[in-house]
Symmetry: none
Subunit: 228 residues, 2 copies
C-alpha cells in the first residue's frame, strides 16, 4: 500500500487530512511538528509528503530543503495559508512538487496527490510473484530464482492472464477470449495443450500441479496457495 506522510501542526487539520487519506485507501503517517516529520520521512520513506509551511521550530521550506539534501526524492506537496507568489516560487525552487493554498478543497488535494502517485506507479513495472517465480509483464520475462526462463508468446500471455486472475475459476471460453482473442478459431483443446506445456515448465511435478489447477467441466484456476 502507498504511504502518505502528513506534516501539519494544526491538530484539527491534521486529523481531517488523515481521515481523508485513510478513507481514500492510503496508509497515513502523521507528524505534528517539523522534527517529527523529518524523522518520519527519513525513517519510513513514504511515497508522498503533504507538508505544511507554517510549523513550529523548523518550517516547511527548511524541511523540504533537508529532505532533498538527503536525496529523498518522493513528491512533496506544500500546503499553506499564504497565497504569496514569491512563497510559491520559493517552495517550488526548494524542491517541492506542488503547492496548494488554504483554504483548499479536500477533493482537489486528494486528486493532486493521486496524480503524483499514479505517475510514480507508472514508472515501476508490473510484477507478479508466485512460488520462486517472478513474472514481469513489462519486461516480458519470467524468472525462477532469478534465472530467466523461456516461454513462447502464447505461453507467456496465458501465464500472464492466470497471474492477473489468481484464485478465480476461469472457463476455457474466458481464457480463449482473453488470451487468444475474440476472433480466433482455436478450439477448446488448445487451451489444454498450452496448460500442459506451461505446467511442464513451471510445476515441480506436472502431474500434481500446485499452480495451475484443473476444474473439471469448468476450466482452470491459477492459485499458488491452494494445494487442492
Amino acid at each position: 500500500m502507498e504511504t502518505v506522510l502528513i506534516i501539519e501542526d494544526d491538530s484539527t487539520m491534521l486529523r481531517g487530512l488523515t481521515d481523508n487519506f485513510t478513507a481514500a485507501g492510503y496508509a497515513v503517517l502523521a507528524a505534528a511538528d517539523g522534527e517529527a516529520g523529518l524523522n518520519a520521512a527519513l525513517d519510513a520513506r513514504p511515497d508522498l509528503i503533504i507538508l505544511d509551511i507554517m510549523l513550529p521550530q523548523i518550517n516547511g521550506y527548511e524541511i523540504c530543503r533537508l529532505l532533498r539534501k538527503e536525496k529523498l526524492d518522493m513528491p512533496i506537496l506544500m500546503l499553506t495559508a499564504k497565497g504569496e507568489e514569491s512563497d510559491i516560487i520559493l517552495g517550488l525552487n526548494l524542491g517541492a512538487d506542488d503547492y496548494v493554498t488554504k483554504p483548499f478543497s479536500r477533493k482537489e488535494l486528494l486528486a493532486r496527490a493521486a496524480a503524483f502517485l499514479r505517475r510514480r506507479r507508472q514508472q515501476q513495472t508490473s510484477v507478479y510473484q508466485f512460488g520462486n517465480f517472478t513474472l514481469d509483464l513489462s519486461a516480458c520475462s519470467l524468472a525462477q530464482d532469478g534465472r530467466p526462463m523461456k516461454l513462447s508468446p502464447k505461453e507467456f500471455k496465458l501465464l500472464g492472464f492466470f497471474a492477473a486472475n489468481k484464485g478465480r475459476a476461469l472457463t476455457r471460453d474466458e481464457i480463449l477470449n482473453n488470451v487468444w482473442g475474440y476472433n480466433s478459431f482455436a478450439g477448446h483443446r488448445s487451451v489444454d495443450r498450452f496448460v500442459t506445456t506451461l505446467r511442464n515448465k513451471i510445476e515441480p511435478d506436472p502431474h500434481l500441479p500446485i499452480y495451475i489447477h484443473t476444474l473439471r467441466e469448468i476450466g482452470y484456476k491459477f492459485d499458488p496457495c491452494d494445494p487442492e
Copy 2:
C-alpha cells in the same frame, strides 16, 4: 535544450507565454488548436506541455487523454479560466500533472514548469554504460573501450531509445513512434533491419545477442544483464 509545447488558442496569451518561456531559456513550440498541438506533441516529443482546456474542436481533456493513450509521459500542466473543483479533478485524473487557473502569475507558472523539468532532469541521464560501451546522448557518440564507433543517425537514435528503456519490452510500434516519429511511413520490418545492423556493430556474436534481445510477436528488449 528543453522544449516546451504550448497549446493555447488565445493568440495574445500564446504570444505572451511563448515570450516568457523563451526568455527563461526554453525552446518553445506553439500550437493554436488541439489538432496542431496533438501532432506537435507526437512529432516533436517536448519535455513539457502547457495545455489550455478551452480549445476549438478538440478540448484539452481530450488531448490529455489521447497523449497518455499514446504512451507519451511528459508532464502536462493544464491551464484554464475555470476554477471548478470538479474540472481540476477531472484533469488530474486524465493524466495531467498540474493545474493552474487563470488569471495566474507568469512567475508561478514558470516556477511550476521548472519544478517538473528539474525533476525530469534528475531522473534522466544522458550517458549510458553497458558492457564495454559508453553511449553519450548529449555528445551524440558511442565508444567501445574508449574507441569511438560510427553509427548512422537512425542507428544512434534507436540505440539511444533502447538504452533509455533498458529492460522494458518494446513493441515495434513503440519503437517506430519514438525513433522514426509518429508520422513516418516506415514499415515494421524496417525496425528489424536496423536491429540487425546495430547487432552487427555492438554484439560480440550477432547470432547470440547479449544486448538486444528478440521478443517474438512483441518486438525487442535491450537488456545488458539478461543472458536470455
